[in-house]
Subunit: 136 residues, 2 copies
């Protein structure tokens, strides 16, 4: 079995936890019930599933639960983007990146750092990448 993916609904919860740091269910219910129009039960269910998956951790404060993220936000993003790329034909990596970069918001310093890594990568980059979809 491979690591479970974070599902669409779970991302919503995780992002709030990452943004707030440690937090309580009431705070999460407060925010997510408005934002996502979910019932409190739904949010509680998601919280306990995320704990099962060990994506969240719990500390007890009396009888209240304090939730905190058990994984680093950036690591979660890296992993999930990497997974998408793994489902793709590698011949399309370039254009896909091109297209996504066109469509999202990036700061100047983001851009600079990406250009930087691209330039470094260029030295050892192959002339072409070839399709492996039918292999193995």
């Amino acid at each position: 079995m491979e690591k479970t993916d974070i599902t669409k609904s779970e991302w919503e919860v995780m992002r709030i936890v990452w943004t707030l740091g440690e937090t309580t269910s009431s705070q999460l219910i407060d925010i997510l019930s408005k934002k996502m129009d979910w019932s409190s039960s739904t949010i509680k269910t998601l919280l306990s599933r995320l704990c099962d998956k060990e994506l969240l951790g719990i500390k007890k404060d009396g009888r209240k639960n304090i939730y905190y993220s058990a994984i680093k936000e950036q690591a979660a993003y890296d992993m999930s983007v990497k997974r998408v790329f793994e489902s793709m034909c590698c011949m399309h990596y370039g254009e896909t990146l091109h297209d996504v970069i066109e469509s999202i918001e990036l700061s100047k310093s983001d851009i600079d750092s990406i250009i930087d890594v691209l330039k470094k990568k260029r030295d050892t980059a192959p002339e072409e990448v070839h399709c492996k979809c039918l292999e193995e």
Copy 2:
């Protein structure tokens, strides 16, 4: 309802179809049963689900089915990567792209074209992007 996602197993099928162009179930069974260690039934089920979702189309050749992709490969990739980015905090777009670029194979011309779009984007790029995770 939003457009259904392509699932992990479905991607495997779609990629073979994209690579082969029009094809038959026997050819797909041949390739995927080896590659994925799936039974022929599994592959047939996936094919018919993909047709239901209108990601594949069928032409009849006698009583055989000829399958073909009903969506463009690049469009499918663009859409699915875009979806992942939509689940993310936009403050992490830059680093995520940086990390994924480091980890995948890109040709020199891919790299050039991405640098190109980045340079264009830089002119109008903001100094910073800000987190919207708690908004709305």
